[in-house]
């Protein structure tokens, strides 16, 4: 229910087969055939034989990790989370040594770095770093200087999705008020994500979603408490399924989930699913890979980053999750339908309306308290 | 008032295939003490439970106080039961246990408008109930024990509470199912006397179940001996002991010597031949062919006392058991017939020893011929 920030938590361990012929360093490990098949580089460092990854729920197609495992002879253990806060607290509780590689969003990279919970990425170990579009490297206000702390994985927006079978009358442009309308009471869900959901409320009220003003945050909180009876639940996971199975609409969700639902229901050139960022604007975000401070398998973590920076792999992921990729090289493998969809890759004028969530320092406390109160109201 | 408080009329009870009670007829006169006696499983409890209303007869009719009560439920019958296990309510005090029956009856005449719901909501504790409870506890010699918990009582005290609980409603018939079975011997003997006195004092009809023949002999006005579901014999203690109707009864009640043989009438009476010895026995109209006679150990005389008796034989003492008040001797006749003889030790030191030769004898009238 409204409770824990992490539905989808506790995650699933994908993993298995150590195909690795345990051998010397570098690329001697793993299967050269598999590397060749996907165009993966041989590595000039010892990868080691295991890797603990902490990743968002459902953020790559199944089978992806197996390719890495086979290619480099590494046994990968994956756990999942459903919000940045959940991931952060898990690291706090159990130590950062539990995982080698994590996928924080923008603002969380900043927090983690300032808390000393991640280490800098060694660009020397990433032969294909330049596959990334420049703008995601140059304009990364969340990545502290000096050095490089994070490597973009996927990016996207947060907005509203709907299913016309349930709510035929929704038409863009609409305001965030949509999510407060009595008409859809009992069939809406909001993200179970502190910054996202309070952010949406702030936006609706015309404030910055990085507001640090107590009064504004209070106001946003009141609005959310008012909205609560209209919601079935707060959830960030399987929103695609909820839309697709007509269990909720409209839904506050991340763009990729909306398009998963869109394509799953796509028949005869149309789909009942729609997605837009409300006109007041919303969140643009980028999820990145970062290496934890106490990572035991730093090399394997870098190997994995190299792996997903690979154009084909990255496109394979993007084509599955329907998020825009920050990887320029990958674009040639991405479905055109996605590339040309302005709702997936928003045009600049839309982008201008969007904000990154930022590390707002001590003010985070205000959000936490508000979020706790919302959930328990 | 009818003459009979309880009448069983061809009552039969089957549990599936088991024939627990088989066509039983008897009547109990008002104010009498009737004992149902018999070995385990013979149907005593079932009979009692049919009177109480816990079981319905498969056939036949149960009458209480002149009315056929077959289809009355237990709480509609004017009987009270004392259970072997006492069945005291463990969550109530002594006083509450005893008051229970009065409360359930709603004490007719008192607070007449109180409906069942009222009583359900609060237990009533009117003056009259208190009064009667205290009187009844005095009767069973537990005065002032109202507030004790059941588990603070000894077995004997619990027994008395069970009795008080059954008596307090002044039932027409009191039913007792081995009420003393759980007590030790000494207490049991005391309670036998007390129960009997109480019954005589109150004049209530008792139906008493036991498998202890001594208890039955001591207490009853009449004894109904049951065997395998049917009634073997109904009679007074003396009748049952001295004129048993069957080998079963003779054997079950008291100790006895049974001798099987061929019956024949002779000039001056009857004889029974067994193993080459001819015993004189009382005449018995039904007897013919192979029958048996029974002679009680205490009816056999030894030594001089045996002289001149119609049945008189040489015997050897083969075993002796000292019992304090009596000696129990196993004697063997010349034809190998063993007999048990009880000899009351009326003087210190007087005794027989194993191996001794002795004369034994008895009067034919003291034996009974048994045809079944």
């Amino acid at each position: 229910s409204g409770g824990d920030g992490g539905d989808g938590t506790g995650g699933t361990t994908t993993s298995g087969t150590t195909t690795g012929t345990t051998g010397g360093g570098g690329s001697a490990q793993g299967s050269a055939d598999v590397r060749a098949e996907w165009g993966l580089p041989d590595l000039d460092y010892d990868v080691g034989d295991s890797l603990n990854v902490f990743q968002w729920t459902d953020y790559w197609p199944s089978g992806t990790v197996e390719i890495f495992e086979k290619a480099y002879g590494v046994n990968v253990n994956v756990s999942n989370y459903a919000s940045n806060e959940e991931m952060f607290n898990k690291l706090k509780a159990g130590g950062t040594g539990q995982f080698d590689l994590i996928f924080p969003s923008d603002y969380m990279v900043n927090i983690l770095a300032s808390q000393g919970m991640i280490q800098q990425v060694n660009l020397d170990k990433l032969s294909n770093f330049d596959n990334l579009e420049r703008r995601w490297i140059d304009q990364a206000p969340y990545d502290p200087d000096p050095g490089r702390w994070s490597v973009p994985y996927q990016w996207g927006t947060s907005g509203c999705g709907w299913n016309t079978n349930m709510t035929p009358d929704i038409e863009y442009p609409f305001s965030w008020d949509l999510m407060w309308s009595d008409e859809y009471g009992g069939q809406m869900t909001m993200l179970n994500d502190m910054r996202e959901t309070i952010g949406a409320s702030l936006k609706r009220l015309g404030y910055s979603l990085n507001s640090t003003k107590e009064s504004e945050i209070q106001e946003a909180k009141e609005a959310l408490i008012e909205q609560k009876p209209l919601l079935t639940t707060y959830s960030s996971v399987s929103r695609d399924a909820a839309l697709q199975n007509e269990q909720a609409s409209p839904v506050h969700l991340w763009s990729g989930d909306a398009f998963s639902a869109y394509w799953a229901t796509y028949t005869d050139g149309e789909s009942p699913i729609g997605y837009r960022v409300p006109k007041e604007g919303g969140v643009v975000w980028v999820d990145t890979a970062a290496v934890t401070k106490e990572a035991a398998n730093v090399n394997a973590a870098h190997a994995f980053i190299t792996f997903f920076l690979n154009a084909e792999i990255n496109a394979k992921i993007s084509n599955y999750v329907y998020y825009p990729t920050p990887n320029a090289a990958a674009k040639e493998y991405i479905d055109d339908a996605a590339l040309n969809n302005p709702a997936i890759y928003p045009p600049d004028e839309v982008m201008q309306n969007l904000e990154f969530i930022r590390n707002i320092g001590q003010a985070t406390q205000l959000y936490s308290e508000a979020w706790t109160e919302i959930q328990n109201a | 008032m009818t003459e009979y408080d309880v009448r069983m009329d061809g009552v039969t009870k089957r549990f599936g295939d088991v024939l627990a009670v088989d066509d039983v007829d008897f009547e109990i006169e008002s104010g009498k003490f009737l004992t149902l006696l018999g070995p385990s499983g013979c149907g005593k409890t079932t009979t009692l439970r049919m009177i109480a209303g816990f079981e319905e007869p498969s056939e036949g009719a149960v009458h209480i106080d002149g009315e056929q009560v077959n289809d009355r439920q237990a709480f509609e019958r004017d009987t009270s039961m004392v259970f072997q296990s006492y069945a005291l309510f463990p969550h109530m005090t002594v006083g509450e246990n005893v008051a229970f029956g009065l409360q359930m009856q709603g004490l007719p005449g008192e607070e007449p408008n109180k409906g069942a719901l009222d009583r359900l909501l609060r237990r009533d504790n009117s003056e009259e109930i208190r009064e009667r409870v205290s009187r009844t506890l005095e009767l069973v010699e537990l005065p002032g024990m109202e507030d004790r918990d059941i588990d603070q009582l000894s077995g004997g005290q619990q027994q008395r509470v069970a009795l008080a609980r059954a008596l307090v409603t002044e039932p027409t018939v009191l039913l007792l199912d081995e009420p003393l079975g759980a007590l030790d011997l000494k207490l049991r003997k005391n309670m036998q006397v007390e129960l009997k006195n109480l019954q005589e004092e109150l004049g209530i009809t008792f139906v008493y179940v036991t498998h202890d023949q001594e208890e039955a002999l001591t207490m009853s006005d009449e004894i109904a001996v049951m065997n395998d579901g049917h009634l073997e014999q109904l009679g007074t203690a003396t009748e049952i002991y001295e004129q048993p109707a069957s080998e079963f009864v003779a054997d079950f009640i008291g100790e006895t010597n049974l001798v099987h043989g061929d019956y024949a009438t002779v000039d001056d009476g009857a004889v029974l031949e067994s193993n080459g010895v001819t015993y004189r026995v009382p005449e018995e109209a039904d007897a013919e062919g192979r029958v048996a006679f029974a002679i009680r150990p205490e009816k056999i005389r030894l030594g001089e006392e045996a002289e001149g008796l119609p049945n008189r034989f040489e015997a050897e003492v083969v075993d002796e058991i000292y019992k304090g008040n009596l000696g129990k001797f196993e004697v063997r006749l010349a034809n190998g017939q063993d007999l048990t003889v009880d000899l009351q030790i009326t003087d210190q030191g007087e005794y027989l020893s194993v191996g001794e030769s002795v004369e034994v004898g008895w009067r034919p009238e003291n034996a009974v011929v048994l045809t079944r």
Binding site: N89, M194, Q247, T372 | -
Partner: protein, 332 residues
């Protein structure tokens, strides 16, 4: 003949071996150690943390200047209320909220967390009452009415689901209650309601709690009824009680130990429930269990979570202690 076995070496060894506490220490020490270190000590640590303060980004400050009872105050005392006000508001609100026809006469409300606590206790009570209402008759049926040779099977059927993974069963409930699921369809077909979303509601949480915990009510009640001497009921009827009175006055009170045990077994996990409300509940079904969990998850406020956990534990123990001291009975 004398075939005694003599004990070797009489002196000190024998004396030590025979000392009354040798066996005790040998047997009790390992488990006592384990429980002491991995059960009692963690509770102590939890208590310690509950006096801490949360720093930015979830750090826990435990230095002297941050140690205090602020979490408890935050939990219990509404903004700007004095202690008497807190008590008055809390009591007044609770009466007004849970006792029918009583208005909230107090001028304010207790904190959201206290409300949450009340709500969880209310969930526990409702679950217990329902479990009793449906569990008792069934236990009575199995113990008293069902043919004796089926009794064991019938009991086994109650226990069987309990061996099935708890989460699997909650999931099964989720399927039942889902939109367009079995119950939804049933209600639609019966024209009782249309297209109702039963999932993500108080109803769903209550349904799940009762579903999961009702065996805990049935089993002890069955056990106490089964060992209850039926002649007691007969004795009651013999004394003039009809079937209802006999049940009400004799059987029911005597089965109370089972009912009480069952009630605790249902109530305790229901109040602390975390998984069921998490999976079946919606936005308005937060419980203390979820609240505590979220303080260690997304909310990242360990001291508050520890304080809430400690408060929950103390309330449970108080309940049990009050029961035991009033009746002298054991619940287990």
């Amino acid at each position: 003949m004398a075939t005694e076995r003599t004990s070797g070496g009489s002196g000190l060894v024998t004396r030590v071996r025979r000392h009354r506490y040798v066996g005790l220490v040998f047997n009790a020490a390992p488990a006592t150690f384990w429980l002491g270190v991995f059960f009692v000590a963690p509770l102590a640590v939890m208590l310690y943390y509950s006096f801490g303060t949360r720093g930015a980004f979830g750090t826990v400050l435990l230095d002297p200047e941050h140690l205090g009872i602020q979490q408890y105050a935050y939990f219990f005392v509404p903004d700007g209320a004095s202690i008497p006000q807190t008590i008055w508001w809390t009591l007044g609100w609770a009466l007004g909220h849970f006792v029918p026809f009583v208005p909230n006469v107090a001028g304010g409300e207790p904190t959201a967390y206290v409300q949450l606590l009340f709500k969880s206790i209310y969930f526990g009570v409702v679950t217990t009452v329902f479990a009793f209402a449906i569990g008792y008759p069934m236990a009575y049926f199995v113990a008293r009415k069902a043919p004796a040779n089926y009794r064991n099977i019938l009991v086994a059927l109650v226990v069987l689901p309990y061996w099935a993974s708890y989460l699997v069963r909650v999931y099964a409930i989720k399927i039942m209650l889902a939109k367009n699921g079995l119950l939804d369809n049933l209600l639609t077909t019966l024209n009782i309601a249309d297209n109702v979303s039963l999932l993500y509601s108080n109803f769903a949480v209550g349904f799940g709690l009762v579903y999961i915990y009702v065996p805990f009510m049935i089993l002890p009640v069955y056990a106490s009824l089964e060992q209850l001497d039926t002649t007691l009921e007969e004795a009651a009827m013999d004394l003039g009680a009809d079937r209802w009175d006999a049940f009400r006055r004799v059987t029911l009170p005597l089965s109370m130990p089972g009912v009480i045990a069952g009630s605790f077994l249902v109530f305790i996990p229901a109040v602390g429930a975390y998984v069921i409300p998490e999976l079946l509940g919606g936005t308005d079904t937060a419980t203390v269990g979820e609240f505590i969990a979220s303080q260690f998850g997304s909310a990242g406020n360990w001291p508050l979570g520890a304080a809430a956990a400690f408060i929950l534990m103390v309330i449970m123990f108080l309940g049990i202690w009050i029961y035991q001291s009033r009746t002298g009975g054991d619940i287990l």
